[in-house]
Symmetry: C2
């Protein structure tokens, strides 16, 4: 589709309309509560597979929105996902996002404990931000560590489990899905191989936009 | 696939082997020179569509590698792509990467000229880094601006044209592909709707790793 003289916001609205139309024309049926997240992930990837791959525990989207309205921080496992989360949307809800992967303390702790930086970063985050939203788009080791922590009593507001990859990724997402369900922790996961920092950021942004809109219905976006 | 006790580097090697095997088992034939880029994009997305979508002008990969060995800077259109480019690999080749999108001067110039920040950032980059590698993963307006600049005489070392989206994106990629070909500017593009900051960073990283390896064959990675 070609749009002459469109602003970025015109382009985004037109894109979301195309996505909604193509989803409606297909046989895919998406729960109303989850539609904004699915649309935003497809917007970020142009990949309609996510209409099938994304799995939501009951009420996960609403839990995420409520947590953001209560200024819950978001923890990511990559600086790339952190860079992709909308700073104006975070500011509007007085939320913060953090990634500890590149901290020198984390690298030292990973070396000392013979673990990955991603796992060490999760350990640090679990100790310091136990009720945060965890948005994991890259490291399966972060998922395994988070699953262990949840098994041991950690209760994040929401887990976004969307690493991409070919090794340990499918297993990591299935493990954290089961652990979250059995412990009552809300979870949004991209089952299978696909995912990534783009997907982790897109899901966080969809929740931020929906929470902003719930707080201020005049600021209607594509949610 | 499950790998016990794998380091991130073991996991990456095993992933690249799986990708190479699945490509070999398919009917897809990829030019040897382009294989490392295709594999790394699939590694970053788990999406084998890129084996079809990625299009390379003749010698584009080698041009990119040579430019990086000559310390050519990389310009991105998002901080997300910038965050995804390997800092150790940049450092090894004494290259730099820049994104001007978030600069306050750029926002002011976009407002003053009634254009987008992406287009204003490209204008600034073209004036200050005319021979750079341009890696565009998000904004079709950046592609249109870059195509205009190339038409007017700009000669980047390489254009990586991989925005994702539903509006103006297919058109933008086709336009810059034609302009680059007619002006003799090397280009790697993801034709169609798919792409994104992840893809822009993955292509830049594949070139950085290949250039590092050419410079120092002992540092063999998956290229």
């Amino acid at each position: 589709m070609k749009l002459q003289h469109g602003t970025p916001s015109d382009i985004e609205n037109a894109s979301m309309q195309i996505i909604a139309q193509e989803l409606a024309a297909s046989s895919i049926r998406i729960h109303k509560e989850n539609a904004a997240v699915v649309r935003r992930v497809i917007h970020a990837t142009a990949d309609f597979d996510y209409a099938f791959n994304l799995r939501f525990s009951d009420g996960a989207v609403l839990c995420g929105m409520k947590a953001l309205m209560a200024h819950t921080p978001i923890i990511t496992d990559t600086n790339m996902a952190l860079a992709g989360i909308s700073k104006p949307a975070l500011g509007k809800l007085r939320c913060e996002a953090h990634c500890f992967m590149a901290d020198s303390d984390i690298a030292a702790s990973a070396r000392a404990n013979g673990t990955t930086r991603a796992a060490a970063a999760m350990e640090y985050a679990a100790a310091n931000y136990p009720g945060a939203i965890y948005s994991i788009g890259n490291a399966p080791t972060a998922l395994f560590k988070l699953a262990d922590q949840i098994g041991a009593g950690l209760r994040p507001a929401l887990v976004i489990a969307v690493p991409v990859g070919f090794v340990n990724v499918v297993e990591g997402k299935e493990r954290i899905w089961r652990v979250c369900l059995s412990c009552g922790v809300p979870i949004i996961a991209a089952m299978g191989r696909k995912g990534g920092s783009t997907v982790a950021a897109a899901i966080a942004n969809a929740l931020l936009y929906a929470a902003s809109e719930m707080q201020d219905p005049a600021a209607r976006g594509w949610n």
